[in-house]
Symmetry: C2
Subunit: 205 residues, 2 copies
């Protein structure tokens, strides 16, 4: 199980470990492993084995399992980087910070398209949906919940608000929502997110 | 254009106008017309012509274009009936009324499945999405907006909140949201919807 040598026939002749090709092979291996096992049960070691490389090399390229997942699905944001930014700063402004971050990020067509592609697949493909649920729960929602000390259901309804806005603004393109200015939407949505996330919950729900 | 006789070969031999079969033929014609023209440009007259029946017969079976659309897509709720119920009652309780109505309705697996099927198609099929956007805007959102005297964008973000909750609860099945009690969610979500819909807007946005 911990044999790090590649299975016969897996390495191409002449490929050096750590070459540009290695990163692509790790990503291809990761897609296969995430699709087969979901996010929770996939491991860096398993991905390394599938790619025929040392786990240290996987960590070198991607730091964490979350980082591999972000690269494998071409997500525009790495929660390892984004969540600390959301959590930093005054608690009484977390609503504005989160809404502005999500609306600014999705205002970029390339970033938005990759997110929407993932949302569509998650809603139409059962297995892909499980993988996204696990990633979203472990890598995003649980961390914000822990950082803020709120009941998880509050984070989920906050996420539902923003998820719904992005879908209706960019996929269904309801007007005037689709053409509304980011700052107008920040004013409208931030108090909602602030109510969900602004205060520590008395008890986890 | 106003010729109400059926094109040659359209009527089956021996079918009487107003038979049980007529209703099915009107629905089949409506699906064809809505798919080709969208909701806004479809007319009762055009659907009647496609079905080879008198428009009065279409009105007899379905009352309105909205009613035909609801039947054609097997939607579990007719906005002609639901919206007056939502708008009736104290304005200061519209948040609770709307949230409880939507969560109770989607708690029924059959009702939920037909709504989710429509949502999925709207998100993945461009033409179907346009049709749903037009129906949603004209038959649902505009009417609530007019009834409440609020800026349309407020209705859209309220709808986004509930749309997101239904998708995350029933399609992505995030926990604890998926298992949460309806009344717990009413307490959490009603103040959000109340803030969006509870007060008349100073100016339409």
């Amino acid at each position: 199980m911990t044999d790090q040598s590649a299975p016969a026939g897996r390495r191409r002749p002449g490929r050096r470990p750590g070459s540009a090709d290695t990163r692509g092979e790790i990503i291809a291996a990761a897609r296969k492993i995430f699709a087969a096992k979901g996010f929770d049960k996939a491991t860096v070691r398993g991905i390394a084995r599938e790619a025929g490389v040392d786990p240290a090399l996987v960590h070198h390229y991607f730091a964490t399992k979350e980082g591999i997942f972000v690269a494998a699905l071409r997500l525009p944001v790495d929660p390892d980087q984004a969540i600390p930014l959301i959590l930093a700063g005054p608690r009484e402004e977390i609503g504005r910070r989160l809404v502005r971050f999500l609306l600014t990020m999705t205002a970029d067509p390339a970033a938005r398209e990759s997110i929407i592609a993932v949302m569509r697949s998650a809603m139409t493909n059962e297995q892909f949906g499980v993988m996204i649920r696990e990633f979203l729960t472990r890598a995003v929602l649980d961390r914000v919940v822990a950082g803020l000390g709120i009941p998880p259901v509050r984070m989920e309804v906050a996420f539902a608000q923003m998820f719904g806005v992005v879908l209706l603004r960019y996929v269904l393109r309801l007007e005037p929502l689709a053409s509304a200015d980011v700052e107008e939407l920040v004013d409208l949505l931030a108090p909602t997110i602030q109510r969900y996330l602004g205060e520590e919950g008395a008890a986890p729900a």
